[in-house]
Amino acid sequence: MDYDKLLTLSSDLGYHLLLSGAEIYRVEESVHYLLTAYGVETGEVFVIPNCVIVSLTAPGQKPITRVRRVPGHGTDISRMEALNDLCRRLCACPPDLDRAGEELDGVIREVHRTPMAVELAAYVLLTSAFCLLFGGTARDAFCGGVCGLAVGLVVPFLARLGTNLFFKAMVGGFFCGLLAAGLTDLGVGEHIDLIITGAIMAQAPGLVITNFMRDIMAGDMMSGLVKLAEALLTGAGIALGTGVALSLVSALWGVL
């Protein structure tokens, strides 16, 4: 058997699973099952949120290792389910490695792009729903929706430019703060704090901080600490952005 190909296949599977937003333990287990299914008992896999390392020792050969760095990414559950399905099929009856590689390529090449308009509608829907959930009025929900629209326009655009996490959060927070303060001053919104907390929920790292706790408790210390740093950084970015916007608006309002 060509162990190089097996290493490439398994590390690519791990990389794409992580890229689609799978949990750390799921990536590690999937790669491990795949290696075992192909008869490699000496495979090791180590995953943290931005790196996948797979290593194996073929009988009578030197150990081989592959490292894949994972860039910042979103979540794509339908791709993750497809990859999970593929991994299960490969483990149930392992085909030869070229076939398996082709099947993996097939799953990766299926790109689902949500239309821009639908994505924006989703941002508006979720931010206004959060404004209502936090106890805002219908007018607050409207303002929250406007802020959500701005976030939905700006943040994916910045992501396409390859902007880092902190800056994205800051710019998103800035627009939320600016619009919320502006609309409240114009008399459209009623509770500025509820509008802002609702509007930032599209970006807020609530899931990250919950997953950080889960990882730490499950024993994945490294992943947990990476996620904690991410959550604190994103939170600080959003707070900084809104803070700048609010002070800017109040200064301008004083002048006008």
């Binding site: 559950i77 993750m80 729903a129 907390t197 807020a204 600080a236 803070g243």
Partner: protein
């Protein structure tokens, strides 16, 4: 009505996230339903648990991960989607924002208060998930 409306809002918020996380069709409805039901659990356990919200979050998380495991078995797909989407109304995203906001304002007392509260909510959610998933794992190992 005062129970129904917040759950409806939670449902809608989850639905928005389903689009962003690319969950389609029936899966999206079931994930969002999970979010709404978890919020209902959170609200209903309030009076029983003496309005201690950390405990309320724990029970909501236990309910939700049980729901996710059942759905994963029934629909033969990973529980990840359910655990991600349906948790969104519960997770303390606003808490982190408030905590960092207090830090930037130099209000140390508020920073510590909201920070510890946020961490304990995250902790109780994580414990809720881990209790159920560990039990499920142990059961499947039997």
């Amino acid at each position: 009505m005062e129970l129904f409306l917040p759950c409806l809002y939670a449902f809608l918020a989850c639905l928005g996230f389903c689009v962003l996380f690319r969950i389609n069709g029936l899966g999206a409805v079931l994930c969002s339903l999970g979010g709404a039901l978890a919020w209902l659990v959170y609200l209903l356990t309030g009076p029983i648990m003496g309005n201690n919200d950390v405990i309320q979050y724990f029970w909501a998380a236990v309910f939700l991960s049980a729901y996710a495991e059942v759905m994963a078995r029934v629909r033969k797909c990973p529980a990840t989607g359910y655990l991600l989407i349906a948790f969104i109304p519960l997770v303390p995203g606003a808490g982190i924002y408030n905590m960092m906001d207090a830090a930037l304002r130099g209000n140390t007392q508020d920073f510590l208060n909201t920070g510890l509260h946020t961490l304990s909510i995250a902790g109780s959610l994580a414990v809720g998930v881990l209790v159920v998933s560990s039990l499920v794992r142990m059961y499947s190992m039997l």
